[in-house]
Symmetry: C2
Subunit: 323 residues, 2 copies
Amino acid sequence: MSAADSVRSRAPAGGPARRFVVAGAQLGPIAREEDRASAVARMVAMMTEAAGQGAKLVVFPELALTSFFPRWWIEDPAALDAWFETEMPSPVTRPLFEAAVRLGVGFHLGYAELTREGRRFNTAILVGPDGAILGKYRKVHLPGHRGHEPWRPFQHLEKRYFEKGDLGFPVFDTGWSGVSGRLGMCVCNDRRWPETWRVLGLGGAELVMLGYNTPQHYPLAPEHDHLQYFHNELSVTAGCYQNGLWAVAVAKAGVEEGCELIGGSMIAAPTGEVVARAASSADEVICAEIDLDRCAEIRANIFDFARHRQPQDYGPITAAAGG
Amino acid sequence: MSAADSVRSRAPAGGPARRFVVAGAQLGPIAREEDRASAVARMVAMMTEAAGQGAKLVVFPELALTSFFPRWWIEDPAALDAWFETEMPSPVTRPLFEAAVRLGVGFHLGYAELTREGRRFNTAILVGPDGAILGKYRKVHLPGHRGHEPWRPFQHLEKRYFEKGDLGFPVFDTGWSGVSGRLGMCVCNDRRWPETWRVLGLGGAELVMLGYNTPQHYPLAPEHDHLQYFHNELSVTAGCYQNGLWAVAVAKAGVEEGCELIGGSMIAAPTGEVVARAASSADEVICAEIDLDRCAEIRANIFDFARHRQPQDYGPITAAAGG
């Protein structure tokens, strides 16, 4: 049986929990004025569609509840706060958690987190089919800039609006009936850094969930605009192959408030092969049956870390000065 | 001007040394009985051809002087020694050095090194157009196995025949008139490990030279045989993009002693784009004009290491236990 056949075939209902259907729920644009209730309703509709296709886990994008607000310079503290969640679930996000319980699916959600202590993070959570939050990740590699740069057609103020994540790259064991594996998360720009994938891989991750809001136009090097999707796919598929794990990479897509986002959500195998890909810039569910035991094809062989890695030669990677 | 145009255009003769033509000199099979003099003659012919195309630097493959002998179980110490070089240059390899001086080109050569102390390495050297050895690298990530595994159609005994390299991943400044840059090397399986590229990138490498002998058939996971070339390209292009550097990756290609090698030598840009690729499984020269200043398009922006890396979160990568 070829790798592709193996991925595409369907396990019997009630089959082993290492093999299950995962879904990516790509979001089309969310307008600045669109409220969270509307975004949540779109997500619940996709979660329902995914469950109808047998999905046990649904991955939503980065900052999925609102428009991508770091593109705007916001001076008023109250106006900035309004983009953040102060509790999870909240009255407005509770329908996602209720749908998870009703449908028997877990989900991954990205949102802007404001803690009781007033700290701000670009956060993702993993929620089980019992509606409980199993894991949390806070974005480590914040792109963009801190000051107002009016020359840009849009800002990218993640370094201003968020602190660097303080949770490292944790990996979570699911004990759910339909999903039994080690799951990790990262967010958007994190996926471009091989260190992200390697730390997750060394932590035993078998599936990495990630969301992204990636503009087609990169103001610092517009001569690379045509390469944005290529760089996304290159980063995700290399991370999968070099660590022998699955990934579900899910976009906010389409033209959002005048900013074109690349879309192209995908599910990639431990071989680096893309096994499912979105074909629109709108709300779209993609699904694939994945088998976490296939990680061993890579991790027990060419990338058997214990036999082949040479950490004593990697010192500069963790040295204090970047480069 | 698009990135591709920039790469393909030709600088004026005597132009700035940051912009020059580089060549990959892919070797077709070398039979077990073919002697070094014959292999060297093939390489001198390709060096001459490359110089005729304006190349200032020519990259030859891993273990370029002989057949890929780690595929054979060799018990007789003298028979094993016969595959190794005990001096460089030697009478039989001197024509390469003489050609470099005559043609005014530098070159990169992979070979099996036996030191005076009896140590064995899978080595690559960088030789200047003055015929002097400027730099040496010894392969860190040795693939394969130590014991005889007769079930395999061919052995892969690098872990038996070589010690792990003891030079780290050094980067060398060329002071040549035609090539002014920071050059690094790795060998074959090293290219699959993102740590290799990252350590070279942190060391300031702007161009990485590497050779490989990669079989189409991978006995441990034959279901991936059709992916061998994809994995090679994925590893090289991801390494280039994620570190903002050029690479010249050069194969021993074709069916060598019954073992099919993947070939497909390539030159890749800091954007991850492949700008030249071999189209045969035989001796073949590929050339591209490259501009080392283009590394900044990546390294000063999306992958500005000093601004964006987070080494404090990468600890597991250098922890003693692999995984």
